[in-house]
């Protein structure tokens, strides 16, 4: 769960004990991030998540409080999204060349076959059978009793909580910022999970610019809005991906097919509530596709502000790729940076 972490605090450091408090906040933030990484790492052999992954089907594994809490959130959101968010896509992620150090495939022949990824998807579908129990001060997770067989190898389920873990870390650092008495600033973890306070006393909000996934140059944004005292998470297909021919393969896996998502949604951003939940929601929205995502947003995320970008065509111009945005934010509460490039998404009219 390694990513760049930026803690930015605005205060009068030449007054009172602000500088000393900030120093302690920085130290404690560093220790907290190390501790969360140790709990959630899928590669560190001392991590409870690693031990869970290495355990046999049906085995009861002792977790720590952090991994237990994050796993519980993951299970809750898996249920809420009807499986669209599912951290058990471990094997598919790696089969498509992500999450490791190998180079990306550069031809269709190097991609995993349908039978293989289908097996991984079937295995991942058992994630919701994970049982969590607490016995006194000890926490346990019982692994689903499910396996798949690929190339003669029997594989038990494995999970990767890295995505939701960044949001969890942002939430915890947000609490630390409160505990140390700072009101202005933010914590940015990997530019995908941000916990924000206010900007400064005479200008309370930050302006967020969401990256144009087809912007063509670093730093271009397609959508901007003002935010303060909230959490923001984004998922997208524009950082970890490769193309073979005209087809883009990104690191976000559809747990129902075991394949990278290719439904037109390029990025999804959720604002409000907790960063950990938002992380999982953005992944789920990327998986659902536009129509299902809109229904989900309108029925189950009405307490959040949501934006997604979409690449598709119009029925009258099937050969021409166009870009659209969807948001449930009221007009006037946002700005579309390039309205000649991004049009509002119209349900039922846009085709991926």
């Amino acid at each position: 769960m390694r990513a760049e972490a930026v803690l930015s605090i605005n205060d009068y450091f030449n007054v009172g004990d602000a500088a000393e408090r900030f120093g302690r906040l920085c130290d404690e933030t560093g220790e907290l991030l190390e501790s969360i990484d140790k709990s959630l790492s899928a590669t560190d052999s001392s991590s409870p998540v690693y031990r869970f992954n290495e355990a046999s089907p049906g085995e009861k594994v002792e977790m720590d409080k952090t991994s237990y809490e994050v796993l519980k959130s993951a299970l809750d959101i898996c249920e809420l999204t009807d499986g669209a968010y599912n951290p058990a896509v471990y094997y598919s992620v790696r089969a498509y060349g992500f999450g490791g150090s190998l180079p990306y495939p550069d031809s269709e022949e190097e991609l995993p076959g349908d039978e293989e990824v289908g097996a991984y998807a079937e295995l991942a579908s058992h994630f919701k059978e994970t049982e969590l129990t607490q016995e006194g001060v000890k926490y346990y997770a019982t692994k689903p009793d499910a396996v798949c067989v690929v190339d003669g190898k029997t594989l038990a389920m494995k999970i990767d909580l890295g995505g939701i873990g960044k949001g969890y870390a942002a939430d915890k650092v947000n609490e630390l910022i409160d505990r140390y008495g700072f009101e202005y600033g933010y914590f940015n973890f990997g530019s995908s999970s941000i916990a924000l306070k206010r900007f400064k006393p005479d200008s309370g909000f930050f302006t967020m610019g969401f990256t144009d996934p087809r912007g063509g140059y670093y730093g271009s944004s397609y959508f901007e809005m003002n935010v303060s005292d909230t959490c923001v998470s984004t998922s997208g297909d524009y950082e970890q991906f490769y193309s073979i021919g005209d087809v883009r393969y990104c690191h976000i896996i559809d747990p129902f097919t075991g394949k990278p998502v290719q439904n037109g949604i390029m990025t999804a951003t959720v604002i409000g509530g907790s960063a950990a939940e938002n992380d999982a929601y953005t992944t789920a929205i990327m998986v659902m596709g536009a129509e299902k995502a809109i229904e989900f947003i309108e029925t189950k995320l009405s307490d959040r502000q949501v934006v997604f970008s979409y690449e598709g065509t119009l029925p009258q111009e099937p050969e021409s790729k166009k870009y659209f945005y969807y948001t449930n934010i009221e007009e006037g509460g946002y700005k579309v940076v390039n309205p000649s490039k991004y049009s509002p998404y119209v349900a039922g009219q846009n085709v991926a």
Partner: protein, 161 residues
């Protein structure tokens, strides 16, 4: 028969042509110069004029400052032996505190300030990127040493995501 002979002639003409004609080379050269000029004009004129200088603090108290405009290094209200300025290019400044020391370098030509040596445990300050504009800061938490620009923008109000 006559059509074939004309095609052969055309082929022979093409074969005897040079890979590049002089007018083509001139056009390519002009385009390359324009591209280079645009790149240089953007790169060299990017606005760092507002980065005027830096100030170093120990436990919130300003002990040293350097002004890029005048090239002047000033020791402020520092205790005896707290700040040592080591002449040279780049200029080095050593800050001595009760539990150790920090050394930072000031490159006046590049308007860049970087922590280069410290005896704190983690040395996070050494891995902090150099300060090259008003948005940067270097902070050594164990020693309480902070280096920031005169016009430090603690926050950017705009956050890309």
């Amino acid at each position: 028969m006559s059509r074939g002979r004309m095609s052969l002639k055309k082929i022979e003409d093409l074969k005897s042509d040079k890979a590049f004609r002089w007018p083509d080379l001139i056009v390519y050269g002009v385009i390359a110069l324009i591209i280079a000029a645009i790149f240089l004009s953007v790169f060299l004129t990017r606005n760092r004029d507002s980065f005027q200088g830096i100030r170093a603090y120990v436990a919130g108290r300003a002990v040293f400052e350097y002004d890029f405009e005048s090239g002047k290094a000033s020791v402020l209200s520092a205790a005896e032996g707290e700040v040592e300025v080591i002449d040279g290019s780049p200029l080095k400044v050593r800050i001595n505190v009760d539990n150790g020391y920090n050394i930072f370098e000031i490159d006046a030509d590049k308007r860049s300030v970087k922590m280069v040596e410290a005896d704190c445990v983690k040395r996070d300050c050494i891995y902090t990127p150099a300060i090259t504009d008003n948005n940067g800061i270097i902070y050594c938490s164990p020693h309480g040493v902070r280096i920031e620009p005169f016009d430090f923008n603690a926050l950017n109000q705009y956050i890309p995501m």
